[in-house]
Symmetry: C2
Subunit: 178 residues, 2 copies
């Protein structure tokens, strides 16, 4: 095994939602600030592979003119086979199989880009090595939860907690070896 | 109105649970450390009134030899009348009515001590002025959620985020005037 890490990098409200109902992500604009990317550029430079769910991918493709991570190797988790498009692969196997396969090769880190279904599936097998969670200063009250019930307990280690002028707090945890 | 504040002071896991199933609070012991109380003593010195739900109260009374906040004026929110016991009052009216009444008197701040039902009821009317949320470095995977679905959206202002050697991060927010 190489030492590539699977890293969740995601934004959530204080009450744990990654979107309002109907995939409304407008709360993210609360923390938009000229010249402040909350470490996203540096994070992207540390990864060469992106894993995301099919629904998240379709949402992105419906909202942007071209796929944002075209320079990375991307795996879209889906039940329906689709033809590879550039660096974008559609993967119908198990998540554990994919992560194990990626980690058996050398490379940079792996960006777990959501959505919640993929995250919770990965957590069932404790397959996420690092968590970079940006907490936006709002209670959304309803929506899509980042964490769903019915996962195993997993202790994490705090790497860092950083607060920004906009009120965003970025929590960085890593997996412990138990 | 006086300037007394209703303050939620509570601990939660990274995935937003305040207890595991069956009211199991054992995860709190992960961050127990000699000489470190995460500001609890100072917080208690700033309040003279405690508001909590009846189930939380009964749980406490089943686990400790005597009521922990006997020196404070306490209001237990319940549907069933019970006789006042020392400083402990059983309150059958609305939470909004209670908070408004408490704020119309002078006094120190008001400790919102849970459980989740009381917190979510208060949030429906935006009655919590400050939030001091201690995030314990663990994913519990299941249990009693601090925040339930179906509340209004409420923007908060970050006061401070403080991390401790044990990996606990204390997030402190206050209500914004919109």
């Amino acid at each position: 095994m190489s030492n590539r890490k699977a890293i969740l990098y995601i934004a959530t409200s204080i009450d744990g939602y990654i979107a309002k109902p109907n995939d409304d992500l407008s709360f993210l604009s609360m923390v938009e600030k000229q010249g402040e990317d909350y470490g996203y550029h540096d994070f992207l430079a540390s990864i060469d592979t992106v894993v995301m769910g099919r629904k998240t991918y379709d949402w992105i493709m419906a909202h942007v003119p071209e796929y944002v991570h075209a320079d990375k190797e991307t795996y879209i988790i889906t039940r329906t086979e689709r033809e590879t498009a550039g660096n974008v692969n559609f993967y119908t196997g198990t998540l554990k199989g994919l992560i194990d396969a990626l980690k058996s090769r050398t490379g940079q880190n792996i960006f777990i880009d959501g959505g919640a279904e993929i995250v919770n599936e990965l957590l069932k097998d404790e397959l996420i090595d690092e968590f970079i969670i940006s907490v936006i200063p709002v209670l959304l009250g309803d929506g899509v939860r980042l964490f769903k019930d019915g996962r195993p307990e997993q202790r994490l280690q705090l790497v860092n907690a950083k607060s920004y002028e906009t009120g965003l707090v970025q929590l960085h945890y890593e997996r412990t070896n138990h």
